[in-house]
Each structure stands twice: as structure tokens, then as C-alpha cells.
């Protein structure tokens, strides 16, 4: 029997399959990867009745345009995304995020762009037909690991689909909120920086530059002055680590980050703020706020409860 499938008319800028990430490979240099905005990833699966480990298609800025071939099935888009459905008879509907949409044979979903955010998610009923690679469906382009031969979606390829779940009609009232401050725990090289620079870091604006991707976010702003040593011996990094190279411009490690690094660590973004951090677009300004470990742990618990509450509203 022939699988239902999508034909990729346009791959988009950086469309990759992602799940919750890949564990236990930092020591050979493979990062977690996984969906950047975990909350929107989870909602995308829940709305479509897929389990939470099901891979979804993540896109950045401009998404893919996909023509559908197969029996009637539900799809969902999450995030803050402009998209349209072009029906087989050429009529067009503006797409609405956070609700199931029925696709018929010959329909096209054209994901035009994210709106004041970076990442959006596309899930299909039954899920994409993919094989796990090294125990995960996440794609790490830089190491060419993951489904689709470790690549992003390419114009002209096809994507196979599993058998769909039953058609359903679900929606969620959800608005992605913006964050005022990115909260940070002191890093292991906090004392490498001058008092003034620490003050600047926690009071001035920093601009997200266009050199920002799934690996890292490069910032511009007041130069942060290192008073001790601008290089350390390379050592383990984690998601959210803020490294300061000798030029004094912060780089925040994101999901596809290099696993080792030799620039001093000023701080680490707390887990509760990560989903919102990654959605901040180049050109935007961000502010940082210092917080202690205990508060960060509590904030993460709250963030998790909030996510579960959102998910439980979807029946």
C-alpha cells in the first residue's frame, strides 16, 4: 500500500524534524538538539492526538510549502505563524494556529512566515513516517545526524506519513506571551568580569544579532570587560550558557550548541525562560536579570505546571 505523503514545493529556511532531543552523546560532541520551543512542540502533538515523543516539523522564519497526497487528515500549526491553505479547487483560506485543520488530497499548506517570533511547529495526524537515528527523531544538521539524512527539508523531496488518527476537531486558546527579562544564574567564571561590566550586563539592553540560529544567539551591546583571562581551557557547555569571547559580546548557547567551549561563562539562562528566549527575533532588545538556583528551580516547576495546564485544556 502506498503511503500518504507531502510533496515539498518549498523547503523553507530551516525546516527540520525534531522531538524532545537526543541524550547521552555530549561526550562525543553531539548536543541535545530537539525542539527549540518545547512548549509549542508539546502543544502541536497534543492537539493532533499524537504522543509527546512524536517528531514534528520545526521551521524558522519562512516555513515550507507542502502539497498533500492521501486521504483526509488533520494537521496543526503552533507558534505565532502566518500560513494559508490552498484548496485543490484553488480557493484559499488563511490558516489559524492552535486548531486542527482538515487536508484533502491535492491541498497545499503554505507556511509563509513566523510573526514576531522565530520558530513554529507543524504536526500531522498519525505523524511523519521516519526512523529514529541514535535513539531520537531530532535532526542535528551540523553533524548530519537524524531523519532526512541529517538535513533540513529540501525543495522537491517527499515526506512520507503514517496512517492518520481519527479526524477530530480541536482548538486551544493560546497566545504566546513575551518575556520582559531573561533570568540568569551566575556562571562559573562570573568573577572574571569587572564590577561595571556585571552592572552593565544586568541593566543595559542587548540586541539579538542576525548571527543567531539553532546553535547560538549572538548579542551586541555594551562591551563586557574581562579582567582576569579571556580564554579558559575548553570545557563542557550546556544549553543556555552565556559565553563572553574577548570582544566582549555575549553568545548564548542554544539547542544545537557546541558541547565544549573555551570562552568564560558569565551565566546560564534558567530552564524556565528557554522556550521564550529562543523565540526572540534578531534586532530585538533583551534584558537580563540575576536569580538564584532555588528560585530558578521553583520557576521551572511553575513553568511545567503551566505547560501541563495548557495541555490539559486540550481534550
Amino acid at each position: 500500500m502506498k503511503n500518504d505523503y507531502f510533496h515539498v514545493a518549498r523547503g523553507g529556511l530551516n525546516s527540520t524534524f525534531q522531538d524532545l532531543g537526543r541524550k547521552n552523546l555530549y561526550h562525543i560532541g553531539l548536543p541535545f538538539s530537539g525542539a527549540m520551543d518545547k512548549r509549542n512542540y508539546l502543544i502541536a502533538n497534543k492537539l493532533i492526538d499524537n504522543n509527546k515523543n512524536n517528531p514534528v516539523l520545526e521551521f524558522a522564519y519562512q516555513g515550507p510549502s507542502l502539497k498533500y497526497f492521501g486521504k483526509k487528515r488533520n494537521i496543526v500549526v503552533t507558534g505565532d505563524v502566518n500560513f494559508r491553505i490552498i484548496k485543490n479547487n484553488n480557493s484559499q483560506n488563511k490558516g489559524e494556529c492552535y486548531r486542527t485543520i482538515e487536508l484533502d488530497e491535492g491541498d497545499t499548506i503554505d507556511i509563509c512566515s513566523t510573526n514576531k517570533s522565530v520558530y513554529g511547529y507543524f504536526s500531522v495526524s498519525g505523524g511523519f513516517k521516519l526512523d529514529k537515528v541514535w535513539d531520537s527523531f531530532s535532526t542535528t544538521i551540523r553533524a548530519q545526524i537524524g531523519p532526512n539524512n541529517g538535513n533540513k527539508l529540501i525543495d522537491g523531496q517527499d515526506i512520507k506519513l503514517n496512517e492518520p488518527n481519527q479526524l477530530s476537531n480541536k482548538r486551544l486558546d493560546f497566545i504566546n506571551s513575551k518575556i520582559e527579562f531573561i533570568r540568569v544564574i551566575k556562571g562559573t567564571n562570573f568573577d572574571y568580569f569587572s564590577e561595571q561590566s556585571i552592572k552593565d550586563f544586568f541593566s543595559k539592553d542587548f540586541e539579538v544579532t542576525k548571527f543567531t540560529d539553532r546553535m547560538g544567539m549572538r548579542l551586541e551591546g555594551t562591551k563586557l570587560k574581562n579582567i582576569k583571562k579571556t580564554n579558559i581551557k575548553s570545557e563542557g557547555l550546556v544549553k543556555g550558557t552565556i559565553q563572553i569571547p574577548p570582544d566582549g559580546k555575549p553568545i548564548i548557547m542554544l539547542s544545537d550548541h557546541g558541547t565544549l567551549g573555551g570562552y568564560p561563562k558569565l551565566g546560564v539562562v534558567i530552564s524556565a525562560d528557554y522556550d521564550k528566549l529562543v523565540q526572540i527575533t534578531p534586532g530585538s532588545k533583551i534584558k537580563f536579570k540575576e536569580i538564584n538556583l532555588k528560585d530558578a528551580e521553583n520557576l521551572y516547576k511553575l513553568y511545567n505546571i503551566e505547560t501541563n495546564n495548557i495541555l490539559s485544556k486540550i481534550l
Binding site: R142, S234, P245
Partner: protein, 225 residues
Amino acid sequence: MIKNIANLGDAAIYCDFGTEVNKEINSKVIKYFMTLRKKNFKGITNLSPSYNKLVITFDINETSYHNLKQEILDLDVEDKIESEFKKIRIPTCFHNDFSLDIDRLEKRLKKSKREIIDLFLKRKYFCYMTGFVAGMPFLGDTDDKIQLERLETPRVKVPRGSVGLTEQFCNIYTFESPGGWNIIGNTPITIFNTTTQKTPNLISPGDEVIFYEITKKEYLKIYEK
């Protein structure tokens, strides 16, 4: 054996084994790494050993910094490392198309390109760790006459295969990636094999590595294979 344990953010532990880099400290790190892999404590999601540090990430839903810290302090570390070490030869081309930072190296080290290459090729290198990008080996120690700091602003793209120098170390960029090492040459061989999960790394911690010089013609011949 661990000098200090701290939190790195809210979902990772930072174990500090000291500031020097040598085989003795590095092997302590590796022993902790191997013991923890075997113990498989609840919630640990990654172990990242380096020259003299071990960073451990965990799932905050399953454990916490304070729990894991106690488990690590109570750890009975195994003394034996069961592993076989390899000797690996790496063909390297130093053509100007590949030695991207040779001007900087010549200027700052006050040496000619030939002198720098000869000093680089003279040594056998020990692999301390792998990572940053998949399979990238961190090798040492280079001759102290060719030691230089990282670039002030890291490159957005370092070509795949690039061989770089920083301080007493050298490395190989297994994939195109951002990076701040001083690039001296390039190897055409595959260091990280994506088709096998069991042994994707050509070079592993503890292995010995020797670089040898090839011409651009030889480079292209190996590369095309």
C-alpha cells in the same frame, strides 16, 4: 579528587578537577565519567568530560543539583579504565587555501610558515577529549613555540577538516562550524562517521595522533574518494 562542585545553571553540575592540563588529571576525569556511565543515576542526561572538568546535565523533573551533588560526593570511583588506545596518522595539507590564519600565526609567533609547520609536525599528540562538534578531537601538547590564543572574534564558519591551534592544543574541525582556533591546515579524511552509532569517532580520548604533510594534489585525490 574533585576540587570543587558547583551548579552550572539549574540543570547541570560542574565538577572541577583543577586548573592544570595533564594526563594525570585528565585520567581522573575519565574515571569519574566511566563510573557515572555505569552507575546510570536517575535523571542524568549527559556527561561531558574535558581536560580537567566534568559537566553533568540532568532532567530537573527527575532530580536536582543537590541530590546529584550528594551522589557524586559519595561515588566509589573505579580505578581501572578498560579501553584500548589507538595510534592514528592524519594527512594534512598546509596550502595557503587551507592555512587560513597563517598570517596571524607568523606575525604573532614571529616565525615563518615553514618553521611553524615543522614544529607542528614534530610532535605526537595525546587526545584529551572529543566534542564541541561531533567527533572533534582535542589534542596536546603542541611545542610552546607555536602556542597562541584563540581569535578575538570567533569565525562564523570554519571549513570542515580544518586543523586548528590554540594554546598548547590542536584540533580538527570534523564539520563546518563556528570556531575561534587558529587554522593552520586541513585534512581530507573523515573523522566522524555518521553511519555508525557504536564507534563514530576516529579519534577517542587516550589515542595518539600524528599529523603528516600532503600536497594539495594528494589532498584532492584523498578527498575525492
